[in-house]
């Protein structure tokens, strides 16, 4: 797949980070736990431990994001991933110490790289699937190969495209051989964002076939217990879970809810213990309720208005620059995101530590509101007089990181000041996707979310001819800088390259960036021990009810 080359390079960087921290050489599961908690910032774990967790109880959660399937190798929804992460394990998992996201072993106990193309994983011993089958080297090999097998048709198959083979070294050790150095691997092997390395039970897959996604069998802290269509999903405690003493809860009841207002009402009245996500407009109300705790930080994302470079009027860079300068991001942050976001000046977001320019607001780099300049650009543009571009907006609270419709309404009067009167078309998501993918728009709202590396956040989106470059932006120099950054392992040099690339991108303005947003989990205060991870996860293994 075309996506491969850049992921390779990214991989080198990530892999370099992993070796430096050398957290893979862990002996035994007990040591693994201790070391794991050290990485995760002992304070977090210890504070949870100090409160003497109570066993038992069922947590009731309102799930307002869509759940498509619980087959990790097929899901396309973060609403599913959050559940999958409680039922399955990856070879690795994502951890967060309050500062930095990292990858720590999950089903793997140690991870070694004899050379840059070979990865050796020693697995935890004695781990069992929920159906009693052992999760040994044979099982892991089969699961990984399932993702790659073209006959299976997993949409994540490309993540293992350069996987040359898997050897079983002994019953608890596997060796993955790649044809090229593959730095995206840590991301791919986690049970959450990558999904390709999530280990599923062979017998269950063969037993249920296509219906495996409705009958998932993994190794995680909770077993799948039932799914009532459009109603609820229930999980129950896995007594054989490999982290001793965990999980604390007896069960999890996930209520599938379409109307967020109803979920918020249930949350406020204490009828549910938590919410998987919340639209921005409810956050002030939820925060004001003293029984609730709102978890959420600015995650790796950016929302923007994309402008179609292929046709008038936004084939003229001056028009695009005018739009980018006419939008007051502070208003968007206040009224579009209810202050639960920060203004964006470029694409790279704060969690990408080492790449995010903390002074970008003052440095003069990136895009910013300047009405005078916007008017100047507009004067210099090819298209004088009033223009009426078509602005497509996706309905629903997931649009543009949660504020597509509101943003468009806020942007409308801003653009009117420079003689641009967009015609807003409010579409349902299926139609919007089709129009966006077909380039049938002048302006569109979008947000790229849950990214962990600058390459991920810019390259497939804005490099010439890449799949998510829906606006048809092309700048050879920009492309070259991105490729160079992929080849560069030195972080300081790499950052400089991204700075230059972003300066070009922001000046050409195929997009007007808007904001970096928080992503929320709401829990009742009686829910204890929750460890927030800023990649939209709701892991329940450490959670208990007071």
């Amino acid at each position: 797949m075309s996506e491969q080359s850049h992921k390779d390079k990214l991989a080198d960087v990530l892999a370099a980070g992993i070796n430096r921290r050398s957290f893979m050489k862990l002996m035994g599961s007990g040591a693994g736990l201790a070391a794991g908690s050290a990485i995760m910032g002992g304070s977090l774990v210890q504070s949870a431990m100090a409160a003497a967790p109570k066993r038992g109880g069922t947590i009731k959660l309102a799930w307002i994001d869509a759940v498509d399937t619980l087959d990790p190798h097929f899901t396309a929804s973060l609403g599913s991933v959050k559940i999958i992460n409680n039922v399955f394990n990856g070879l690795l998992k994502v951890a967060y110490d309050g500062q930095k996201v990292s990858f720590v072993p999950d089903l793997a106990e140690t991870w070694e790289m004899p050379d840059d193309k070979t990865h050796v994983f020693k697995l935890r011993k004695g781990v069992k699937f929920h159906n009693g089958d052992p999760c040994d080297a044979t099982a892991v090999k089969w699961s990984l190969e399932r993702v790659k097998d073209p006959a299976v048709g997993s949409p994540h198959a490309w993540k293992f495209e350069t996987l040359a083979g898997i050897d079983i070294v002994d019953e608890s050790t596997i060796r993955m051989r790649f044809s090229k150095p593959y730095a995206f691997l840590p991301v791919a092997l986690t049970g959450s964002t990558g999904r390709a390395g999530t280990i599923v039970s062979k017998r269950a897959v063969e037993q249920h076939g296509k219906a495996f996604g409705r009958n998932p069998v993994g190794t995680g802290p909770f077993k799948f217990a039932g799914w009532r269509e459009n109603e609820s999903i229930t999980l129950e405690r896995n007594p054989d879970y490999f982290e001793p003493g965990l999980p604390y809860l007896d069960g999890v009841q996930i209520l599938l809810i379409k109307e967020p207002t109803a979920a918020v009402a249930a949350m406020m009245s204490g009828q549910v213990d938590g919410m998987s996500l919340s639209p921005f407009q409810f956050i002030p109300q939820l925060k004001a309720n003293k029984n609730l705790k709102v978890y959420g930080e600015v995650e790796g994302n950016y929302s923007f208005v994309g402008m179609n470079n292929r046709r008038a009027p936004f084939d003229d860079p001056m028009m695009r620059k005018a739009v980018a300068a006419a939008i007051d991001r502070n208003v968007i942050v206040k009224q579009g995101y209810f202050d639960e976001a920060i203004p964006a000046y470029s694409c790279i977001s704060p969690p990408m530590t080492g790449f995010y320019d903390k002074n970008i607001g003052k440095s003069g780099r990136g895009q910013r509101f300047d009405l005078k300049k916007a008017m100047e650009y507009r004067k210099q543009s090819k298209y004088q007089g009033e223009v009426n571009p078509v602005y497509i907006v996706a309905q629903g609270f997931t649009g543009s990181g949660g504020s597509g419709t509101r943003n468009s309404q806020l942007i409308l009067p801003m653009l009117e000041k420079i003689g641009i009167k967009p015609k807003i078309e409010l579409l349902d998501r299926a139609v919007w996707t089709k129009r966006r993918n077909g380039g049938d728009f002048d302006m569109y709202d979008e947000a790229w979310i849950a990214d962990l590396d600058p390459d991920e956040t810019i390259y497939p989106e804005w490099h010439s001819g890449k799949p998510w470059n829906f606006v048809g932006y092309s700048n050879k120099e920009f492309d070259k800088l991105l490729s160079e950054a992929q080849d560069t392992l030195n972080q300081a040099t790499r950052k400089k390259l991204y700075d230059r690339a972003e300066d070009l991108l922001m000046a050409d303005a195929p997009l007007a960036v808007l904001a970096h947003m928080k992503v929320f989990k709401i829990l009742n205060k009686r829910v204890q021990g929750f460890q927030y991870i800023p990649v939209d996860l709701l892991n329940l293994h450490s959670v208990w009810l007071a």
Binding site: M1, A62, D68, T69, T75, A76, S77, G153, P155, H156, A157, W158, K210, A211, G213, R214, R228, E229, N230, E231, S232, L255, L256, I257, K258, E259, T261, A262, A263, A265, A266, M268, S269, G270, Q271, D428, R429, A430, V431, W432, T433, K434, R435, N437, W468
Partner: protein
Amino acid sequence: MFQAASAKLAQTLLVLLIVSAASFAFLKLAPGDPVGIMLGSDYSKTSYDQLTHELGLDRPVVQQYGNWLADFVRGDWGTSYITNQDIFELAVMQALPVTLTLAALSLLIALVIGIPTGVMAALYRNSWADVLATTLAIGGNAFPSFYLGILLIWLFGVDLGWFPVLGFVAPWEDFWLGMWHLVLPAVTLGAWYVGLIARITRSSLLEVLGQPYILAARARGEPGWRVVWVHGMRNVLMPLVTVIGLQLGGMLRGAVMTEVVFALPGLGMMVTTAVLNREYIVVQAGIMLTGLLFVAVNLAVDQTYQFLDPRLRRR
């Protein structure tokens, strides 16, 4: 007799056929497709084409319709693209009972409130009670059910905390818990009907109370309650049953909104989810089931006439 029945049956089937063809065509005309939604953003052209082919969506639309219809009449309603669940099971065994329960309870609430309101309004015509009843009736009819639902949720669910605000508990598994969960949704959906029923009751009763036989009954010295509730209401039932039957469509429309607001896994919720995911065959199943329901209710209404009006009974 047999001829009449078979003509009726043929007519019904034709209606259902037209409904199925029209809905199939409209769904196909709606832009967007299920494959893109199923695959999310991480997919290749190959997997897109592969899945399109697997689902049979690369075939001509007429052929797709033909295949679907042939399977449908044989009772094979297909499996959902996304959930892999048997659609007959999903629609008939799971969603339909929820919607029927909700509709029945709403109707019950509407009758219990609507009829006395209408009777009051008719008996004390143009008094303050009439104005109040009429205002309430029209208000209930005019208020959008999703908005009323949200108001009820906030007042009775959050502020007062009397009722659960979402979820469904099957009354046949736990009757009182199920009823408790259904109170707010049923009131929401029923409010719309209350107005309708009260208005019909009022106008029909006014008409009936002016009839000579009522005067005769009063002259015979029958008690007032008997005159109104036995002699009067008997003749109000006909128009009432007719209107209730005809307005079933409105009830089902309201059920869609109500189910979404209160997270009830009924037909409305099923169809809403399926429309958003462009799951053509699930939507199709929902529409057919609604069509069948509509036809069945109309048949039932036809039958009740014979009980309500002895003159219509066949000899």
